[in-house]
Amino acid sequence: MDWVNVAIQGILLGGLYALFATGLALVFGVMRMVNLAHGDLGILAAFVALFLFQSLHLGVMWSGLATIAIMFVVGYLLQRGLLNFTLGSDDTRPIVVTFGLSIIIQNGLIMWFSADSQGLDAGQIENISIRINDQLSIGWFPLLVFVTSIVVIALLQTFLNRTKLGRAFRATSDDREAAELMGIDNRHIYGLAMAIALAIVALAGILLAVRTTFDPTQGSFRLIFAFEAVIMGGMGSIWGTLIGAIVLGMSQTLGSQAFGSGWGLLVGHLVFLTVLAVRPSGFFAKTVTA
């Protein structure tokens, strides 16, 4: 029964990873840009929420919602004000710029908040769980995170598939110049894509902050997990990202269970490398030929 328990924890952990990864997948999908500061922006959001919670005494819920709104605006401005200018013929430019951004965010957070671990206290929900039987119980909070990730992904997919703006996202992803000929301003679309990506990663950062402790340097870890989830799922497939995240989460928890704590991360990476070797395009690769 231990194993079942651990596997379920892994699936639920996958929900959190999926939230970290969704924005990364969206940004890559729409503008073929790799954002190396993605994880740090999620951790930045956690600190913003912590600040609103501690200094302005907003409740956890309101701090979280305000942070998501703030990060949405930050995302749009960051894209329009900086990242759009890095896009173009040279693929390495956005990588270098977002790498720099990652360093600035990490060090800025250390300056303002110190390198200490922090936590966001959401009260009772963190500890209560559903008891299925004597050996098996599921924490309410991890379950909430998992359900949230599914809802977010379903909403995002619906937005992309069913709305006029979502169509513009997909058209821009297919062919930027042809989309411009349809009257679509790609700079604005890219801005919105980054805004949505940062709103989602803000949610992920806040949920992480409630679930466990966090510190300014954690963004890079989150980025690696997010990359692994996106690549395993298949670049450009958002539901695939969720599956990739679940596989990663389960590999980590089952790895810890099998070989002792500390081995979980390694097993996660090994499973990722295996998937990469066996199925380099991921589980749900969308290969579109023009």
Binding site: K164, R167, E177, L181, M182, T289
Partner: protein, 232 residues
């Protein structure tokens, strides 16, 4: 007033000059054909009018107003739509979505998904298919239909017959005649002179970035066109 006027337009790609002081006027309701061999600057000309390329000097006037400051995505709403070379349909979108996206920044008017499907009945059974699965001719019809969804006053067509079966080319040229009937002004670029001269009421031949011959097709001898085409 002319729908479109170019005044001494120079266009460069980096150091390479693609157009040299090109000037001409397109009148309302006209079908204006630009012919010429590869590398003559015809596609560059259309890209410049659509706003994908900026002139280094000279200006482009639309209904008498200079539009050089307007980016491509603004010009659709002003009434200029380009069917780009190579069709460039959105491969991961369905046929229907491709048409819908055509109306994104466009104007209101008589063209909508129903009337476009009426014009190109071959697309009707394909509306739910991904555009990437279409044949070349179907994609070309879709690309033209998509541009019509913006209800353009000026439709720019770039090499619409390239690589298509004769029967499909015939259908596309028939559609072009119908479009002129609705009052749309057309600026068409072709390498294939034969077909385009049957629909054009004005023709300009491009050679190495310059207009080498211009006039009404009925007034130009085929020898003169051949000479201008090949630069002999």
């Amino acid at each position: 007033m002319s729908v479109l006027e170019l005044q001494e337009v120079d266009v460069f790609y980096g150091d390479f000059q693609a157009l040299f002081e090109v000037s001409f006027k397109v009148e309302e309701g006209q079908t204006f054909a630009c012919i010429g061999a590869n590398g003559g600057g015809k596609s560059t000309l259309l890209r410049t009018v659509a706003g994908l390329q900026r002139p280094a000097s000279g200006q482009v006037l639309f209904h008498g107003e200079p539009i050089d400051q307007h980016p491509a995505h603004d010009r659709v709403g002003m009434g200029i739509a380009l069917v780009p070379e190579g069709r460039r349909v959105f491969p991961s979108l369905t046929v229907f979505e491709n048409l819908q996206i055509g109306a994104y920044g466009g104007r209101k008017g008589e063209w909508n998904t129903d009337s476009v499907l009426e014009l190109f009945p071959l697309l009707k059974p394909l509306v739910k298919r991904q555009a990437s699965s279409l044949s070349g001719g179907e994609q070309q019809a879709l690309a033209i239909g998509r541009a019509l969804m913006a209800n353009p006053q000026l439709l720019l067509l770039d090499e619409v017959s390239l690589g298509l079966a004769p029967v499909v080319i015939k259908r596309i040229y028939e559609a072009m005649v119908l479009l002129v009937g609705t009052g749309t002004t057309i600026l068409v670029v072709e390498q294939d002179v034969q077909h385009v001269l049957t629909v054009a009421d004005h023709v300009a031949c491009f050679l190495e970035g310059r207009i080498s011959l211009e006039g009404k097709p009925s007034e130009l001898s085929s020898e003169a066109i051949t000479a201008a085409y090949f630069g002999m």
